[in-house]
């Protein structure tokens, strides 16, 4: 241990730095013994690959899930992207550019995985732009101060990693492989967020207040990122059961949320940040932290499109895409001309 006033670089700060990641990323191929029957492969916890036979509903569910995940990465560039020009130091500016760039990369890895299922990225983007496919509601909250970049890295990337580590052993091979790549990169995101808050909490009074305010605003939305309750009574009629059976979901929303809370509370204490939940306390009996009730009405409202930034995020994305149309067309036109020129050269030779 390093004492209380530095971050111990060897201590895991997020789920990608724990054994869970290594366990998820390791995978033993037994296909030789099992053959290529979908149900048998799933039952034996084996990977399904793009050209394998698979039920239509499995394919559709995956396309929807991977696309939504990809959209979240791309839309997720915006809340922090708009701080690149305002980052308060050059070191922070460089880190932020690299981080937002990573999110673009994650989006591309995921669209690439979705495309192995027979959809085109353009189709998926159209569905995003038309509001037919969703992205994570967390990005419909505004980033009001610099400390929000810290809170997003610490809490939002932290929660995302918690969600994503189990997906490294998702039954669909290309998705699992994309997630392994993503998780490896994500842990830097969470660390830089923690470090932003750490620095603020050791700074001026105004900086401390800024950090506390950001944590106040992002804590509950981060908990909601795990999705609605899906254990006990709440599980009935949900997607969780089928997705679990297919190996495209490994833990219930409630399990992951609990793990996240258990991981974050000690980190908040270290930071000196008070999490905005009066019911938060260690439950000796359960061996977990108890926490308060999430305001699901608010969650559903944001999901339906009534969040502070829903319209803005889609509008931004659509504008960038539309403004780029002439560029993409030009590149296609040039490629087509080049092909013709090469063919002419060949036939002349």
């Amino acid at each position: 241990m390093y004492g209380n006033d530095v971050i111990d670089p060897n201590e895991p700060l997020n789920a990608a730095e724990t054994g869970a990641y290594d366990a998820a990323a390791a995978h033993e191929d037994q296909r030789e013994a099992i053959g290529s029957d979908f149900d048998a492969l799933i039952a034996a916890d084996q990977r399904i690959e793009p050209r394998d036979a698979m039920p239509d509903t499995y394919r559709e569910t995956l396309i929807r899930q991977i696309a939504q995940h990809a959209h979240s990465e791309i839309i997720g560039m915006q809340p922090e992207g708009n701080w690149i020009t305002r980052a308060p130091s050059l070191r922070r500016k460089a880190i932020l550019i690299a981080k937002v760039q990573d999110e673009a990369g994650h989006g591309l890895y995921l669209y690439s995985a979705a495309e192995t299922l027979g959809v085109d990225r353009q189709e998926l983007l159209d569905r995003l732009h038309d509001g037919k496919q969703k992205y994570s509601s967390i990005f419909n909250y505004p980033t009001l101060t610099w400390a929000d970049c810290g809170a997003i890295g610490w809490l939002v990337d932290g929660a995302a990693i918690m969600n994503q580590v189990p997906l490294c052993r998702c039954s669909y091979g290309p998705y699992a492989r994309a997630m392994i790549r993503v998780c490896k990169e994500e842990s830097f995101h969470q660390r830089q967020g923690f470090e932003i808050l750490w620095t603020l909490m050791r700074g001026t009074e105004a900086q401390q207040a800024m950090a506390q305010d950001a944590a106040d605003r992002w804590w509950w939305p981060a908990l909601a990122m795990f999705g609605p309750p899906d254990t006990g009574e709440a599980a009935k009629g949900g997607h969780t059961e089928q997705s679990m059976a297919w190996g495209i979901k490994r833990f219930s929303n409630d399990d992951l949320r609990q793990k996240f809370v258990d991981m974050m509370v000690p980190q908040a204490e270290k930071l000196g940040i008070v999490l905005p939940d009066p019911h938060l306390r260690w439950n000796e009996e359960r061996g977990h932290y108890d926490f308060g009730e999430i305001d699901w009405d608010e969650f559903w409202q944001v999901l339906r499109g009534d969040g502070p930034c829903n319209a803005e995020r889609i509008e931004h994305r659509r504008r960038a895409h539309d403004e780029g149309a002439w560029v993409r067309e030009a590149a296609n036109a040039y490629a087509a001309k080049q092909t013709i020129r090469e063919n002419e050269k060949e036939s002349a030779a």
Partner: protein, 102 residues
């Protein structure tokens, strides 16, 4: 400038499969795909998308349409015949235990 040939304004750029050689001595490994208008741009984009952390020393890009893949239903006829050619593997051969450097 000539007019754009037909088909030039199709909606999206073609898909390219990306292969990266992690370091000298290793094979190129498939890492994913991306969209680009032509091979030159595909290579460039692959560098930015798949090797931001020095993950590679060499990149191949192949138009996804140009990849011919074996089908899982043909798996038996493709790969099983190799299964009984155990003499291709060094473990097939019995040699005296005290022979070195084998």
């Amino acid at each position: 400038m000539t007019d754009a040939p037909e088909g030039a304004t199709e909606r999206s750029w073609p898909l390219w499969e990306v292969f990266v050689r992690g370091k000298r001595g290793l094979s190129h490994v498939h890492v994913g795909s991306l969209h680009a208008p032509d091979a030159e741009m595909a290579l460039r984009n692959a560098r930015d998308v798949y090797t931001r952390r020095q993950e590679g020393v060499s990149i191949w890009v192949v138009k996804a349409d140009d990849v011919t893949a074996s089908s899982p239903s043909e798996k038996d006829s493709f790969f099983d015949p190799a299964g009984d050619k155990i003499y291709r593997h060094p473990t097939f051969y019995d040699v005296p235990e005290d022979v070195e450097y084998l």
